[in-house]
Amino acid sequence: MNLEKVVFGFFITLAAALNFGFFVGEIDNPTVHNGVELAAALVASLVATVLKFGDRTQLGAIHLATSLVADLQLLVAAAVWVWASQMSASGMSEAHMSVVVSLSGGALLANIVSVVLMVSEIIQVRR
């Protein structure tokens, strides 16, 4: 068992899980999407990115790329969230919420790709 692999697998899965938790529910209903969950997903995704720094294998490069995509999406989602809840006149409206959730949905896709890559890597090793 490789501790590095455990830690990396943990954070990749955690990022995907938290993101999924935030994403599920009606897209425009602010009450079913929790901001803390979004923040947690962002942190987990950042950690997963840093964990892949310096890995020069082909798979490592793809991992880095996908988690960078997830980071970007989540950062924008968080920024929209902060703006909508603290700056905009209407407060967190349904339109704002759907933007945030769809962005996190994009990040979720990137997270899923990461998880699939990780699983496929494991299967390759088993063979």
């Binding site: 901001g35 803390v36 950690v47 310096g54 809840s85 603290q86």
Partner: protein, 606 residues
């Protein structure tokens, strides 16, 4: 497979970036962790409204992140909605100590990485490799930048060729960087023995035309030669070997040239006594093109005196004895060894008298010290004014001293090696031609010398290889493939006036494993032939026109001006141009008397 590719890509600049990232992994994780922890805490602790004193909701996650950000970087803004309560202040204290520490740790880590010798080296190698990969023209690798190496570098630069310098000693490389070159060469401070380094220096690159091993250390030169032979068998490698034992060792390994400067000079002096014309010819074609020819007085036959019986002395004595000269050897340190006749340095007139200076015709001052050699030469001249003096110069910086004394022949080991290396590595066919020279007698050599010295009067002519191939001579290859007839006479015809010949001589045509020496003007060339040419710089330039421009080529072959474009050429490609004999020129060089046009197989044993 992964390991081999990573070994080759080990030091690209992007890899340096990866190195930084990998080293930054833990510091960054630490920063993220501390931030998350502090932000979460701050976003959970409820505040207190200062006006009412009642609990107010905690900071939002974004506000908390904002506060932690300016705290951890010690910027410390104070604009927060309202003063904190005690619990919040406690948490902020914790935040300050942990996050500032985490940031400082990360910064120190980055700075330490930048200071790291290994890292700096990786950056240097990466820059070097990138510069090497950017070279798109033929280049040479010079390992070892001592006196000889520097001379080779300047010679290559003079010929307009790129080179890459590898040297272990940084100070020497600094000197080289101060020198002026046409194009700034990529240099690296490293041990050239390392096969990986040779690869980084572009050994596997198809533009790499040769490697020159000139380090101070024989085993290193040998290792370089072996590495090149194994890694890139097509790249010629020249190694300088000073010790005779090492040389035989390396000779077994491949047909590469190993030059022992002492042996080289001893042989050439002996050759100059027995066959002065051949020696003169050899000197002419191995000289640096464009440099003035320095006339050499032929050394006389008779009794010789050899001062100094070291490695050089041994070689000289052997060669001079073989040439049939009688010899007296003077040496102090090696006195008692067989072969040494007189004990002494040669600086005292008694020693020289004892060696028979009165009836001697020549003297070789061959010690490893320049002042000693000069004082021997001066004493000898005082005793016998007409004596032929050969002086060995060990260090280039003593040139003014040596110049003040009017010796007959100067032996500078570094120059001998540099000249020979340059001539051979830039024109591989020259090697073959030099090996064929002993087949010619003195009269033929004298004739050839006369012709070659007229090519670029007063100067060493340009010598170059020409492969009749699609890349090197596209127009000509097309013509021959289309059934055209092209002779060496056409090669020599002036592309502006075909009735005249350029000052150029075809020395050798190599076809498969046959050598055709000094072919006449009616020799028909084929695709795949390699031709060794000698001529003036102008002729070299004009010939390029014939080889590349199909209109110029058409004119040379048929005598008709043609202005056709590619379409017309394509339409008429099936019809080879008509053969119109070249008018015989009135201003051509006198024809050589060709006693032997050789069509022999070239056995490697020769």
């Amino acid at each position: 497979m992964r390991s081999s590719s990573s070994a080759q890509r080990q030091t690209e600049l992007s890899d340096v970036f990866y190195l930084i990232l990998r080293r930054m992994r833990f510091p960054l994780l630490l920063v993220i962790g501390v931030y998350t922890f502090c932000t979460a805490g701050l976003a959970l602790i409820p505040g207190t409204d200062p006006l009412t004193g009642r609990p107010s909701p905690p900071l939002t996650i974004f506000d908390a992140f904002y506060v932690v950000s300016f705290t951890s970087t010690t910027i410390g803004f104070g604009e927060v909605p309202h003063p904190y309560n005690a619990l919040q202040r406690m948490w902020m204290t914790l935040t300050i100590y942990t996050s500032v520490a985490a940031w400082s740790y990360s910064l120190v880590n980055v700075l330490a990485l930048l200071q790291d010798k290994g890292f700096q080296n990786a950056v240097k190698i990466a820059r070097f490799t990138r510069r090497v990969n950017q070279i798109r023209t033929p280049f040479y690798i010079v390992c070892g930048i001592g006196e000889t190496g520097r001379m080779v570098c300047h010679g290559l630069d003079h010929l307009g060729l790129r080179f890459i310098a590898i040297e272990l000693n940084d100070a020497r490389l600094q000197e080289l960087r101060m020198d002026e070159f046409g194009v700034d060469p990529p240099t690296v401070v490293a041990d050239a023995k390392d096969p990986l380094l040779l690869q980084q220096a572009g050994l596997m690159n198809s533009n790499c035309k040769g490697v020159v091993a000139l380090t101070d250390d024989d085993p290193t030169n040998q290792a370089i030669a072996v590495n090149v032979r194994l890694l890139a068998p097509r790249v010629p490698v020249l190694a300088r070997i000073r010790d005779v034992e090492t040389e035989t060792h390396i000779g077994v390994f491949g047909g590469d040239l190993v030059i022992n400067p002492f042996e080289q000079f001893a042989e050439s002096l002996a050759a100059a006594i027995t066959a002065p014309q051949r020696h003169r010819l050899r000197n002419l074609i191995t000289g640096l093109p464009g440099q003035a020819i320095v006339p050499i007085a032929a050394p006389p036959k008779g009794h010789w005196i050899m001062c100094g019986y070291g490695r050089f002395g041994h070689m000289m004595v052997e060669e001079l004895r073989a040439a049939g000269m009688s010899l007296s050897v003077i040496d102090e340190r090696h006195y008692g060894e067989p072969g040494v006749d007189i004990k002494g340095t040669g600086t005292r007139s008694e020693d020289l008298k004892a060696a028979g200076i009165a009836h001697a015709v020549g003297l070789v001052a061959g010690n490893a010290s320049d002042p000693k050699n000069l004082s021997i030469a001066v004493t000898a001249r005082a005793l016998n004014h007409d004596i032929y003096v050969v002086v060995r110069q060990n260090q280039l910086k003593n040139t003014p001293l040596i110049e003040a004394f009017d010796e007959d022949l100067l032996m500078v080991p570094s120059q001998i090696v540099a000249r020979e290396f340059l001539a051979r590595i830039t024109t591989p066919l020259l090697n073959r031609f030099l090996r064929l020279i002993p087949q010619h007698n003195e009269t033929e050599c004298a004739q050839l010398y006369e012709q070659l010295s007229q090519l670029d009067p007063g100067r060493h002519p340009e010598l170059w290889d020409l492969a009749i191939s699609e890349q090197r001579a596209p127009a000509l290859a097309d013509l021959i493939c289309g059934g055209g007839r092209f002779t060496t006479g056409h090669l020599r015809a002036n592309p502006f006036d075909r009735g005249r010949r350029m000052s150029m001589v075809v020395l050798l045509v190599r076809r498969a494993n046959k050598n055709i020496q000094l072919p006449d003007d009616h020799f028909v060339l084929r695709v795949g032939d390699r031709v060794l040419l000698a001529g003036s710089p102008v002729a070299k330039r004009h010939l390029e026109l014939t080889l590349h421009d199909s209109n110029a080529l058409h004119y040379v072959v048929t005598g008709q001006e043609s202005r056709g474009g590619s379409l017309w050429r394509w339409l008429t490609r099936k019809n080879p141009p008509p053969i119109v004999p070249l008018p015989s020129p009135d201003d051509d060089l006198p024809p050589l008397k060709r006693t032997n046009v050789l069509y022999e197989d070239d056995s490697p044993g020769k």
